[in-house]
Amino acid sequence: MILQEMIKKPYSYLLFLSFIPLIFKSINYLIIGSYAPVSLLLIIGIPLLYGLSNHKKWVKHIIKTWGVLLILFGVFRFLILLLFYLDPINEIHIREQLNFWFKLVNIIGIILGVYFYRNVSKFLFQ
């Protein structure tokens, strides 16, 4: 099993941990009737689970895609930050989230994304 193989590698824990914020977000939004985060979770999660049964190629593609999505997540949020600096939009609800933690999460997202994209082999091959 690929899963058993992956569990033996410490890098894999980083991969599984990177899904936790999305899982929490999905639950939070599901409660208030929004399906966007849970849809993304299923789009990534189902093929990943399927691949883990015995499709190494699938898993490789999914990890790469997840990496790209994490990079896009960080970049998009940085663009929003830039937009708010250039044009002070009165969206206080968004503005209040643009704090230190917001920037830190973006940086972590981009670093993890790049790491997952470039090191797929470390998760799957010796």
């Binding site: 977000k25 939070n28 208030i32 009737g33 929004s34 966007a36 997540f73 206080i92 989230q97």
Partner: protein, 306 residues
């Protein structure tokens, strides 16, 4: 002692300032006690006088400022014998993909029920938003609407006969696409409440030409009839409009009979300072606010007595 007297002095000075410019006396328009309560409320909501010895509100925009406003409104409703409740809500972002990147909207509506004196499940909802734009003290937009609602609640509570329940609501986040009222309207719809009509007040304190004209939007047939006849009786010019940019839209969109009472937008006699730092206490025409309070009170009184 010094701290206690200072706000009082400012309040009295402000009251004098706003009294002095108007031709008609308050007594001839409405209950003097209500007007002084309204002045105090607007002064505190706009930072003209501090909320207490250590806290003052300049604007009501950030989560922290709105939370402080909620505490003050709860206290104010308790002071007139009502039992306020908080409606905490969370709502997804305007565009669904933003849910992937940001936290949901969160806020608090404050509401209280003045129960009917007979057994009925029918409600009239009366309210306005308490939040303001960033940097704007929001005296007219919309401390004036809060003061009007508060004044009407005070008077309604004193009525001996009420055949309908009155729900007083102060909405959060109107300045962010009416998020607070959207959440509240959804809650009312979900609970299957029997709502006769919804009356929203927003920007009811500016009247430069002193004609006392008031806008009703949209002119829903049955409600308009009552407003028209009451306005005629009180010699208030009533103007129809189809304006939908306030909290009444949230209810109207869900099928409730909801109207907005506001200053004269049609003839451009509206507050030029709205959404700016100049929307301050001393720009409020308290005679006009009193006139509007009386109009809404008479309409609600008519509705709950029949």
């Amino acid at each position: 002692m010094k701290h206690t007297l200072k706000p009082l002095f400012i309040l009295i000075s402000c009251s004098f300032f706003s009294f002095s410019g108007n031709a008609q006396s308050f007594d001839s328009i409405f209950d003097k006690e209500i007007i002084s309560r309204q002045q105090e409320l607007i002064a505190k909501l706009t930072g003209q006088v501090p909320l207490n010895e250590i806290t003052s509100l300049a604007v009501r925009n950030s989560f922290k400022e709105r939370k402080l406003t909620v505490s003050f409104l709860v206290k104010s409703l308790k002071a007139i014998g009502l039992t306020p409740q908080k409606h905490n809500y969370r709502l997804s972002n305007e565009f669904f993909f933003l849910d992937l990147f940001f936290r949901p909207y969160r806020g608090t509506n404050v509401f209280a029920v003045i129960p009917a004196t007979i057994k009925t499940d029918e409600y009239i909802i009366l309210g306005g938003h308490y939040d303001s734009e960033p940097k704007a003290p929001g005296a007219d937009d919309n401390a004036s609407g809060i003061a009007l609602t508060y004044g009407v609640a005070y008077k309604i509570k004193q009525l001996k006969i009420r055949k309908k329940n009155i729900m007083i609501v102060f909405f959060d986040q109107e300045e962010e696409n009416e998020i607070g009222s959207k959440a509240f309207a959804k809650k009312i719809k979900r609970e299957g409440q029997n709502v006769h009509s919804v009356h929203i007040t927003d920007m009811v304190g500016w009247d430069k030409n002193n004609d006392y004209a008031v806008t009703l939007s949209p002119p829903i047939k049955n409600i308009k009839q009552i407003y028209s006849s009451t306005a005629n009786r009180l010699s208030i010019p009533l103007i129809d409009s189809k304006m939908m940019s306030s909290d009444h839209k949230s209810f109207y969109d869900l099928g409730f009979d909801a109207v907005l009472i506001s200053e004269d937008f049609k003839n451009k006699d509206y507050n030029p300072y709205y959404h700016t730092e100049k929307d301050q206490y001393n720009t409020i025409n308290f005679n006009y606010l009193a006139s509007n309070t009386r109009l809404v009170y008479e309409v609600i009184k008519h509705l709950i007595e029949n």
